[in-house]
Amino acid sequence: MRYLPHTDQDRADMLRVIGVETIDELFRDVPADKLLKEAVDLPRHKSEMEVARLMRRLAAKNRAAGDGPFFLGAGAYHHHVPASVDHIIQRSEYLTSYTPYQPEISQGTLQTLFEFQTQVAELTGTEVANASMYDGSTATAEAVLMACRVTKRSKAVLSGGLHPQYREVVETLANMEDDECISLPPDPKGGEDLLAEISEDVACVVVQSPSFYGQLIDLKPLAARCREKGVLLVAVFTEVVSLGLIEPPGAQGADIVVGEGQSIGNALSFGGPYVGLFATKQKYIRQMPGRLCGETRDREGKRGYVLTLNTREQHIRRDKATSNICTNSGLCALAFTAHMTLLGGDGLKKLALRNHERACRLADALGAISGVEVVNDSFFNEFTIRVPGDAAALVEKLADAGIVAGLPVSRLEPDCGLDDLIVVAATETATDDDIAAYASAIEAAL
C-alpha cells in the first residue's frame, strides 16, 4: 500500500514499544461484538494505474464544457482560467496546509486571504469582506440570518429573480429556524414590485442582479426605501465578472453583498467546490459569519496577519456563536485572488466587456430567428429566450446536435407556466463560430 509507510516489522516493533501484543488490544474499548471480523464488502486496493484507468473511464462518459459550443450559465460559468492560477494553487504549501491557527507559520495563507478580502470589498463596492464562504447559495442564506440578527426581525422578502436553488437554500434554513420567507413568483423580465413588499417587520429584501433570468436591476430605489424602513438590502450575484462592468451593489446602497466567485479562477467542477463571497459595512463586522483575516504586528513590529474576531465563532462561543461555520473555501479564494491579480481592475473591465459583447451578439443572432424572442431588455452575459413549445425538449434536441443550449427554466421551476423559457449565457469562451452554430441549430430544430 503505497500511501502507508510502515512495514510489518515496523508495526511489530511499535506494538512492542507500546506494550501490547496485537493491534486489536488498542481497540479494546470497541464493544467486541461490534468490531468487524473481516473487511467491509468493497473491492481490494488498486494500483495507481488501475485507479487512473477507472476514473478516466468515468470522466469519458461526460461531455466537458470545452468539447463544443456551450451556452449554459444559471449560477455557474464557463470561463478561461490562466494556467498559472492552477499552478499556484497546486503548490504544496497552499494545497496541503490547514486553517491558519498558527499565524507565525501561516503567513502565506493569511496574506492571500487579506488580499482576497480587499479585492472582494473593492469589487462589490463595500467596506469589508470575509475570507470566503462555501458558495453563493449558502452565503445568501447566511446573509439572511445575519440580517435577522442585525434587525432582530425574522421575515425575509425574496425576489422572483433570485436563482431558484438559492431561494430553496434560504427557505430551507429559514423554515428550520422558524423564520418567514416571502418568496415572489419567478420574474423573468424584472417587472416585480418589491417596494410594495417592504414593511416594518421585514428584516431584509434579497435581490439578485443580474437576475437568474439575466435582467439587470436598479437597486438604488430599493436601497432608499429599505433604509427608510430599517430593512437591510441583500444584493446577490451569481456572475462575479459582471462587477467589472456594472455598478457594484455596495455603491448602490446594498447593506450586504453576497455571491458566487467561481467565475474567477475556479473550474465548473459540476457544482463545487466554489467560493462564496460575502461583503458588508464596517459597522456589521461582528455580525458577519465566517473567517476574517486581520492585519497586525509581531513582537518586532513587523506587519503580519492573523485570523481575527474569533470570539464570534463556534469554537469559543459554542451555542452562542454568530454562525456554525468553521471553515471557508481557502484554496478557491486563493485561486480567485491569483486570477484577480493577473486581471487587475482594467483586465476585469475588459473581460467583462468581452463577455457582454459576446452575449449581445448571441442575443442578436437568436433574436433574429423567427419564433425566438429575447425576453430581457438589459443583461450582462446571460439572458432568457422564449421559444415556441417545450424548451426542455428543445435543449435535449440541441444537446444531441452537440450544442449545450442553456437551461430550460422548467428544470428548476416546474409547474410555473415557464416551460417555453431558456436561460442562455455567453462568456469570452464563445466564438463567432459557436454563436453561428447555435443559431443555425436552433433554427433547424424549430
Partner: protein
C-alpha cells in the same frame, strides 16, 4: 508498557548544530501586498478588445472606480510562490493537529479531479451528458454507506459543519413528520464547538453532558438528563472517538438511552479515521453522521477549505435526506432536483447544485487506492501511531486519561509544565522553532492546557521518532528552567509572536492606500 529506548534515533545524530534542536529554521521572506506591487498598465492576461457594438446595460454601467492593481504573470508567480514559502504544510513535515486529521494528500487524486470530464462539467448540463459524474457520486456515496453501515447518504453538504446541519435538519424533519416539536439537544462538554452551534442555529436548546473522570460519557448520565427533559429530547450529538482521543466504551448503551427517550443519535464523524473499516457507526446505533472527506478521505485542506461533509443517515432518517438525490435506473442515472419528482420527503436543499464534486473525485480515488483492506489498515496504523507517540512521551508529559487506549490522537494536559514558567502556548510556539507544526492546543476544553496530537497513518516510524525526541528535548528544557527558549518563541519563523488582541481590538480587514496618497487624492 515497555519503553524500548534502543528504538529511538541516536540523539547524537540530532545534536544541535544550530540554535534549534532539530537544526530546522524557517524562511523569512519579506513580501509586500500585491496592492503595493501592482502598477498601472500592467496585465497578466491578454483579452481581446471587442469590435464596436451596442451595449445593453440599461443604465447600470459601473460609475464607481475599480481600484485593483494587476501583476504580470512572472510577477504574480513570484508573489504567490514567495508567499507560499511562509506557510507550513503537510508536504513539509508532520502536522499533528488533533481533530484535524492532516494526512498525506495523494497527487493522483489532484490529477483525476482535473480531468476535463470532471473539472470542466457544468452542474446543470442535460443529465444524459453527465452520466459518468452521476455514477461517480452515486458510487462514492455507496462506498460511504458500506463503510459506515448506514442506509443512505446526503452528498451535498459542503463541509463538516454543513454536514452537521444536514444531520440535525433531518432530525428536525423526522420529528415534524412524527408531529413532535422536541427542543432539547444533548451535547457532551468534549464535543466540537460546531455541535452546539449547529443545534442552536436550528432553534434547539443545548444541554451539556459532562464528561466522566475517565474522559468518556456515561450512559447513566445520558439517561438521567433524558429523564429530566422527558418528552422534549430531540437528539444527542456525540463525537466518537471523542475529542479526548478515546473511543466511547458505552456507546451502544448511550444509543439505546437516547432512542428510548424518543430522540435521535447524531455522531460527529470528524474522527472516523480511527475506526474506518474496523467498526461501523450504523452497528452502534447512530442515526446520522457527517463524514469529512477532507479529513478521513484525504482531500487537501487547502489552508482552511474547501471541505466536504456528506452525511450518512439511518433507515429512520433516510426519507428526509435533502435534495438533490441520484437514482440508479435501468436507463442510467437520474438526478432528482425537485421534491415533486420523488417519493421521499426531502427537508429541502442545503446548497445550489450537487455538492463538492471535486472532493468526491479525490475521495473516491483514495477509497479505490486503499480498497477495503487498505482502509482498515489506515485505521490500525493511525491508532498505532497515536499510541506509539503516547508510549514515547508518557513518562515526561501528563496523560489526563490513562485508563483507555488512545485512538488516532493522544491527549496531554499541561500539568507536566506546572513547576515551570512555560504555558501550553509557549510550548507550541517553541515547536515551531524546531520546524514542526504544533499540535492542537487548548482543545478539548475538558482538560487544562490541552495538547492534542494526531499523527495520522501517513507518518513513518522514523518521522515519529524525530518528532517525539524533539518533544522530549523541549520538555526537559522547560523543566530545566530554560524559559527563554519558550517565551521568546518562535524565533526562527517568518514572524515572531503576532499581536492577536490588537488585531481584534482595532480590526483592519482590508488594505487601504497609504494616508498621504489618499489625502492627495482628496485634495484634488
Amino acid at each position: 508498557m515497555v519503553n524500548d529506548e534502543h528504538l529511538a534515533p541516536s540523539l547524537a545524530t540530532l545534536k544541535p548544530k544550530r540554535p534549534t534542536f532539530s537544526g530546522n529554521k524557517a524562511l523569512d521572506i519579506s513580501e509586500p501586498l500585491l496592492f503595493e506591487l501592482g502598477r498601472d498598465g500592467v496585465s497578466g492576461v491578454d483579452i481581446e478588445e471587442p469590435a464596436a457594438f451596442t451595449p445593453r446595460l440599461g443604465g447600470q454601467e459601473r460609475q464607481a472606480a475599480l481600484d485593483l492593481p494587476a501583476l504580470s504573470e512572472p510577477e504574480a508567480m513570484r508573489h504567490y510562490v514567495r508567499l507560499s514559502q511562509k506557510n507550513y504544510a503537510i508536504d513539509m513535515g508532520i502536522y499533528p493537529l488533533g481533530s484535524c486529521t492532516m494526512k498525506h494528500n495523494p497527487r493522483l487524486n489532484e490529477q483525476m479531479a482535473r480531468l476535463p470530464g470532471f473539472a470542466d462539467l457544468h452542474p446543470l448540463q442535460p443529465v444524459d451528458t453527465v452520466q459518468g459524474a452521476l455514477e461517480l457520486i452515486h458510487e462514492c456515496g455507496r462506498y460511504l454507506c458500506t463503510l459506515t453501515g448506514m442506509a443512505s447518504v446526503a452528498m451535498s453538504p459542503k463541509a463538516g459543519a454543513h454536514g452537521e446541519l444536514c444531520g440535525m435538519m433531518s432530525v428536525k424533519a423526522a420529528l415534524a413528520a412524527r408531529g413532535e416539536d422536541r427542543r432539547t439537544v444533548l451535547v457532551p462538554a468534549s464535543a466540537h464547538g460546531t455541535n452546539p452551534a449547529t443545534a442552536a442555529l436550528l432553534g434547539f436548546k443545548v444541554v451539556t453532558v459532562p464528561a466522566g473522570e475517565d474522559g468518556t460519557v456515561a450512559a447513566e448520565m445520558v439517561r438521567e438528563i433524558c429523564a429530566k427533559h422527558e418528552g422534549d429530547v430531540a437528539a444527542l450529538m456525540l463525537t466518537n472517538p471523542n475529542t479526548c482521543g478515546l473511543f466511547e466504551p458505552q456507546i451502544v448503551a448511550i444509543a439505546e438511552a437516547i432512542h428510548e427517550a424518543g430522540g435521535y443519535f447524531y455522531c460527529d464523524g470528524a474522527n472516523l479515521n480511527a475506526i474506518l473499516g474496523k467498526v461501523r457507526p450504523g452497528d452502534l446505533g447512530v442515526d446520522a453522521m457527517h463524514i469529512n472527506l477532507h479529513k478521513t478521505f484525504s482531500t487537501p485542506h487547502g489552508g482552511g477549505g474547501p471541505g466536504a461533509g456528506p452525511t450518512v443517515l439511518s433507515e429512520a432518517l433516510a426519507p428526509f435526506a435533502p435534495l438533490p438525490l441520484i437514482a440508479k435506473t435501468e436507463e442510467g442515472y437520474r438526478l432528482i432536483e425537485t421534491a415533486e419528482d420523488c417519493e421521499e420527503k426531502p427537508f429541502g436543499r442545503m446548497t445550489a447544485f450537487h455538492g463538492q464534486m471535486g472532493m468526491f473525485v479525490r475521495a473516491f480515488a483514495w477509497m479505490l487506492s486503499h480498497g477495503a483492506d487498505g482502509m482498515r489498515q489506515v485505521a490500525e496504523d493511525a491508532v498505532l501511531n497515536a499510541n506509539y507517540v503516547r508510549a514515547r512521551l508518557q513518562d515526561l508529559m501528563s496523560l489526563p486519561f490513562p485508563d483507555h487506549p488512545s485512538m488516532h490522537e493522544v491527549l496531554f494536559d499541561e500539568s507536566f509544565l506546572e513547576e515551570t514558567e512555560v504555558t501550553t502556548l509557549d510550548f507550541a510556539k517553541a515547536m515551531i522553532d524546531e520546524g514542526f507544526h504544533p499540535m492542537t492546543m487548548y482543545f478539548p476544553l475538558v482538560v487544562k492546557g490541552a495538547m492534542l496530537i494526531e499523527p495520522t497513518e501517513s507518518e513513518s516510524r522514523a518521522s515519529l521518532d524525530v518528532f517525539t525526541a524533539t518533544l522530549r528535548d523541549l520538555v526537559m528544557s522547560a523543566k530545566a528552567g530554560d524559559t527563554a527558549r519558550f517565551v521568546d518563541a518562535p524565533r526562527f519563523a517568518p514572524r515572531r509572536r503576532l499581536d492577536e488582541t490588537g488585531a481584534a481590538r482595532k480590526p483592519v480587514l482590508r488594505w487601504t492606500p497609504p494616508a498621504s496618497e489618499a489625502e492627495a487624492e482628496a485634495a484634488e
